[in-house]
């Protein structure tokens, strides 16, 4: 990546930030023709290392957002708006993709009006994606007014107890949860093995389902299964190392378990093992999860259904 130029000011105004962006972009003759596709806002607390965030995002490669705005929210009531702006070019063949980085450190009352800070920095007419690294935002947060898509990680914030809040957020804005994305290899392999002709009868005869795993994974998987297969008895168990789903019916039991680096499906038929199939599933990196989230900005009705059902189950509904 080539840096066209940088600018910083410990006591900035949004006007000076925007002027800096324009000035730096004027230096970028190769980037005069720009094709943009989204603005990514990253919201973190005082512990957030902004350079680490930018490194993660610059490592996205093919899914690079056109503009990244990292907001580091500091405690305290004293007004502070410090800014750092960078304009970079990501070479691709004989072309370059222009990327703008804006890092803002804020404290004081302005942290309650983040939408006013963010709005001028968003690329016109393009989706605004907000990645909340530490906490789920409040569903009434004004920042969500400028947000088209929210990215969270329930494994970091909220856990299973936060599923209800996530459900309320989802009613406000599209949501992608890294915790849900981490379960994709398991869910996909389950679907892939169920396509095998010899397992087709099981699909029509599932009479019991068991899900295992850590509390959050179990809750999401249970929400998914209960939403997809309503009326079928579903048991949650904390046995087993990784998350797993076991479908039983018609004398066949299919178990799919996600381990650290693989997903294994095993079938037991007539009381004995019939066959086993494994695929590699390396642990998901933050870059990989973020890239997946940015690619899939469309509504995900399967997640919505799983989330709503998981929230009902967690509330005892």
């Amino acid at each position: 990546m080539v840096t066209v130029g940088t600018w910083s000011d410990d006591s900035a105004s949004m006007g000076s930030v925007l002027k800096a962006l324009d000035d730096l972009r004027c230096r970028d003759h190769r980037g005069a023709v720009r094709t943009s596709f989204l603005t990514l806002l990253v919201v973190g607390d005082a512990a957030t290392e902004v350079d680490e965030v930018f490194d993660t995002i610059h490592g996205l490669g093919q899914n690079q957002p056109s503009r990244v705005v990292a907001l580091r929210l500091l405690p305290g009531t004293e007004h502070r708006l410090a800014a750092r702006v960078g304009v970079h070019l990501l070479p691709r063949g004989d072309q370059c993709l222009g990327i703008d980085d804006v890092a803002l450190e804020l404290s004081g009352e302005v942290t309650s009006h983040l939408d006013s800070v963010v709005e001028p920095l968003t690329l016109p007419d393009l989706p605004v994606v907000v990645w909340c690294r530490n906490d789920h935002p409040d569903p009434e947060d004004a920042l969500l007014q400028t947000t088209d898509h929210l990215i969270v990680d329930s494994a970091v914030a909220g856990g299973r107890a936060g599923i209800g809040q996530l459900g309320r957020l989802r009613r406000r804005v599209q949501v992608t949860d890294f915790a849900w994305l981490r379960l994709l290899p398991l869910r996909r392999h389950l679907a892939m093995v169920l396509r095998r002709p010899e397992l087709r009868p099981l699909l029509d005869q599932v009479s019991a389902v068991t899900v295992t795993g850590e509390d959050l994974d179990r809750g999401l998987l249970a929400g998914w299964i209960a939403d997809r297969l309503p009326g079928i008895p579903l048991e949650e168990s904390d046995r087993g190392a990784g998350p797993s789903v076991v479908l039983a019916g018609g004398g066949v039991e299919l178990s799919v378990e996600q381990a650290a680096a693989s997903v294994t499906a095993s079938v037991v038929e007539g009381g004995g093992p019939a066959w086993e199939s494994s695929i590699g599933a390396p642990p998901a990196t933050t870059e990989g999860l973020l890239a997946s989230a940015l690619v899939q900005l469309r509504p995900d009705p399967v997640f919505d259904g799983a989330l709503a059902t998981a929230a009902r189950r967690s509330d005892g509904g």
Binding site: T35, G61, N63, Q95, C96, R196, V302
Partner: protein, 526 residues
């Protein structure tokens, strides 16, 4: 078999409709099947097919029950075939941007690699093949499904298909759902031989089992022509004779004939490029909007488009076409040999390496708009593009000097390389005067979507496994394309004059330029 959703979705009925499958992309994952490659010891298998299968496995788009059976005259054995395919996958990994071979994907494929050696017209070969496929159904879960890929010289297509029929391998095995046959171009040498080939294929196969592959259609950017035209409001209203003055389609190659002279001497640019790639791009450019993106919807419209192309009368062929042959010249800073100096080229060869032609599309939308098509080898750069040049405004309210630098509007679809769209329009030059000049607005797919597009063969192999024929060529498309080039073949065969020479590294012979100059136009410089 009913029409499938094609490019809009999956293709094989309700077998995949289950709530647990939703949102997981399994509709774009191939069902279990044995992929049988005839001509497996050949270059295409190593260079394209096996890397494409490896890439599909790597993207988790192949079922664990996928096997690849190579068939060839060379006696490789299973182990030899595995070694060769491993080398192919390693070579592809070195060419690609990734970090080497995806070992997990390779191990998934490796267990299902088998090889059958024998002659293509020997029934014993097919009996061996049948036993191998039965074994794979039992042991590897290929579920009785077959995809036969004929990567052989076209002269043996008929023999392979008939022996498949004789051995009962032209249908899925019991419990299987499909048996399809993929055939590489050329589909015949002319209209009559294309009809003969179809007749021979149809003696054994139903048309919906035959997948005629033109890898050009697997290119993401060729499909983007459809997206640009039919997903946007602003282009289609001006996409007609009302606004379009002329259309230029260029398929230029900077390479020479290389090691393909044996084939090229019998084909030439007309059969190698015009009859298939160039006319397919033309069809996508002029076709009417389909009611849906189903295979039938799209292919029906393409056939109608080709059917509307006015076939040249023999006396018009000489006036409306130019054929050339590259001579020694300089390209990219290097001196390159002429066609007649290439290995395996006859010293008196009359094979054309350049074709330029003027066509008309006789329908309501395009009547009166000339279509200029050109293709050539050893042109200055490799580029494929469609350029629509628009009519000038009816009245320019500027002084002639103010608009002296203003050219006509143009919309250029660049298909390769640097895929994108350029819109050319007039803008005021900043300053006190009101001078107007032409500027270009560029859109680059590469800069908008950094995703690596799948290789054409990946896309097409997956579509064939999924039973989506949208991007394959139907028999009537083949016949329409031959119908258009047949007068050229016949007239040129009778013509005693050799193709006009052009210097390598130029945009073709001056006769090609004169074709447009006669109409008051000129070729774009892509």
């Amino acid at each position: 078999m009913g029409d499938s959703p094609g490019m809009l979705g999956r293709a094989d009925g309700d077998a995949l409709a289950h709530p647990l499958f939703e949102g997981l992309g399994v509709d774009r994952a191939a069902p279990p099947a044995a992929v049988v490659i005839f001509g497996a010891s050949g270059d295409l298998t190593s260079r394209k097919l096996m890397p494409a299968l490896q890439a599909l496995a790597s993207r988790d788009q192949l079922s664990p029950g996928t096997a690849v059976v190579g068939v060839g005259r060379t006696d490789l054995g299973d182990e030899g075939f595995r070694r060769r395919m491993r080398q192919a996958v390693e070579a592809a990994a070195r060419r690609g941007p990734g970090a080497g071979v995806d070992e997990q994907a390779w191990s998934q494929l490796e267990g299902g690699l088998r090889y059958v050696s024998g002659g293509y017209d020997d029934l014993a070969t097919y009996k061996d093949l049948g036993e191998t496929l039965d074994d794979l159904d039992r042991e590897h879960g290929t579920a009785g499904n077959r995809l036969h890929y004929l990567s052989t010289p076209p002269g043996v297509f008929s023999a392979v298909v008939h022996q498949l029929g004789a051995a009962g391998l032209h249908r899925p095995a019991p419990g299987g759902e499909f048996c399809r046959v993929v055939i590489e171009k050329p589909f015949g040498r002319d209209l009559a031989s294309a009809h003969r080939l179809d007749q021979q294929l149809h003696e054994v196969l139903d048309e919906d089992q035959i997948y005629r592959i033109d890898h050009y259609l697997g290119k993401e950017t060729v499909q983007n022509v459809l997206a640009l035209r039919f997903a946007n409001t602003i282009f289609e209203p001006v996409w007609s004779r009302q606004y379009v003055d002329s259309v230029q389609i260029t398929v230029a190659e900077s390479e020479g004939v290389g090691d393909r002279a044996g084939f090229y001497e019998t084909a030439g640019a007309l059969r190698d490029i015009v009859q298939n790639h160039l006319l397919q791009v033309l069809a996508l450019t002029v076709m009417e909007p389909p009611a849906s993106m189903s295979p039938t919807g799209i292919r029906n419209e393409k056939v109608k488009a080709l059917d509307a192309v006015d076939v040249l009368e023999p006396e018009d062929v000489l006036a409306d076409t130019v054929r050339g042959q590259y001579a020694r010249g300089w390209l990219g800073g290097e001196e390159v040999p002429g066609y007649l100096e290439e290995n395996d080229v006859a010293p008196d060869s009359r094979t054309e390496t350049y074709v330029a032609m003027r066509l008309r599309v006789d329908n309501w939308r395009w009547a009166g708009v000339p279509f200029y098509l050109r293709t050539g080898k050893r042109l200055p750069r490799r580029v494929t593009e469609v350029a629509l040049e628009f009519s000038r405004v009816p009245h320019l309210p500027f002084a002639p000097t103010q608009a002296a630098q203003l050219g006509p509007n143009a919309l250029v679809l660049r298909i390769q390389p640097d895929e994108g769209i350029t819109l050319r329009f007039g803008a005021k030059i900043p300053g006190q005067s009101f001078d107007v000049r032409t500027v270009s607005m560029d859109f680059s797919y590469g800069a908008a979507f950094l995703e690596e597009a799948a290789e054409a063969y990946e896309r097409l192999l997956l579509d064939a496994l999924l039973g989506d024929p949208t991007l394959f060529i139907r028999t009537d498309e083949v016949h329409q394309a031959w119908r258009i080039v047949q007068p050229l073949l016949e007239t040129w065969a009778e013509e005693p004059v050799r193709p006009v020479p052009y210097e390598a590294g130029t945009w073709g012979p001056v006769e090609g330029d004169r074709l447009l100059e006669a109409d008051g136009r000129r070729w774009r410089r892509p």
